[in-house]
């Protein structure tokens, strides 16, 4: 079922979807550029060189994981410790990937690889919301992933190569780019009362757990707990 191609629009449907995905992913791009730059600055200052810093962002595409791995190496922890810590932090992608899987049944393997390669908290949030609204397809997901990847990688290159030019990114209000995007995405999720109930449970338990658990764990634990409450309450 390809969209109608009229005389006025000879663009390939896959291309139209890809461009639509890139537009959807623009808020992610906005948020990634400065954080990627921050990673580039920190990595270059630690001595990794520009090539390794940029390759890390281009191949790994993991915000917290990259920062923590670099921090551990800088602090003198061994390579094995850094690998173990980042593996645990990045385990959350298993949850996101499993949630995406039912939406990718008809997707050929090479597109699954492209979508999986660019799966982050942010691209997951955008694509799963778009899927729920029935608008998402393979190429729009790939477009979201591509523009996000460009933001993260280009940001790192900028930061690593031109620390002086970038200056302090926080003066542009970018500290709030990703929280703002997640706020909008949260509103988008609340399509029915049961999602609102689960959201309140997740928020309350994440906040409660953030007093005892470090890093991203309150989010993961709160989300898993609240999804379980939802699945039991609304069977």
């Amino acid at each position: 079922m390809s969209p109608q191609v009229t005389d006025g629009d000879r663009r390939h449907p896959a291309f139209v979807s890809f461009v639509r995905g890139m537009r959807l992913g623009l808020p992610v791009f906005l948020g990634y550029l400065p954080i990627g730059a921050a990673f580039g600055v920190v990595a270059a200052a630690a001595g990794t060189g520009v090539a390794a810093a940029v390759s890390c962002s281009a191949l790994v595409l993991a915000g917290a994981g990259q920062f923590i791995g670099l921090q551990l190496l800088k602090g003198g922890a061994g390579l094995a410790t850094a690998i173990l810590a980042t593996t645990v932090i990045n385990l959350r992608y298993v949850l996101f990937s499993a949630t995406m899987a039912p939406h990718l049944r008809e997707t050929p393997w090479y597109r699954q690889v492209l979508i999986a390669f660019t799966l982050t908290d942010e691209t997951f949030a955008i694509n799963i919301t778009d899927s729920r609204e029935g608008l998402s397809d393979d190429w729009s997901k790939i477009g979201v992933g591509f523009v996000s990847w460009v933001g993260w990688t280009a940001g790192t290159a900028l930061g690593a190569a031109a620390t002086a030019l970038v200056g302090d990114p926080s003066r542009w209000g970018v500290d709030f780019a990703l929280p703002a995007m997640f706020t909008a995405l949260l509103v988008a999720q609340i399509s029915e009362k049961r999602y609102a109930v689960v959201a309140v449970v997740a928020a309350a338990s994440a906040i409660a757990m953030s007093t005892v658990l470090p890093g991203e764990w309150p989010v993961i634990a709160g989300a898993i707990g609240a999804a379980t409450v939802g699945a039991v309450m609304y069977r």
Binding site: L70, T86, V94, S97, T107, A116, A125, G222
Partner: protein, 110 residues
């Protein structure tokens, strides 16, 4: 201490491999089978849970520290952001509004 390029390369290759396994594994395996209904129902609650948990921690505890609510620029900036998304359904519009509100609030409150 200095993180040499070769040390960084070792870490990044390990991270790239584990990340690809984590990201692609479930998609590649689970998209071929039909999951049991309770599991699918559980997964349907994951997005709302993740988003709510993220927003709650990022807005109420920005940078991992408690901020008194009436001095919390993140909290106040989240309100127009949510309103703009609710009215316009535009992620970009809501994000840009949030950033502008954040800048203005930080200027006046911070």
């Amino acid at each position: 201490m200095t993180v040499t390029p070769s040390l960084m390369w070792s870490l990044l290759i390990a991270m790239a491999v584990t990340n690809l396994v984590f990201r692609l594994g479930p998609i590649a395996l689970l998209s071929r089978v039909h999951l049991p209904l309770p599991v699918e129902r559980w997964l349907s609650f994951v997005p709302a849970s993740v988003m709510a948990a993220l927003v709650a921690t990022e807005v109420l505890r920005p940078g991992g520290r408690w901020v008194v609510p009436w001095h919390n620029v993140y909290l106040f900036a989240a309100l127009p952001t949510a309103l703009v998304y609710w009215k316009t359904k535009s992620f970009l519009g809501a994000t840009v509004t949030g950033m502008l509100a954040f800048l203005a609030l930080r200027y006046f409150l911070g």
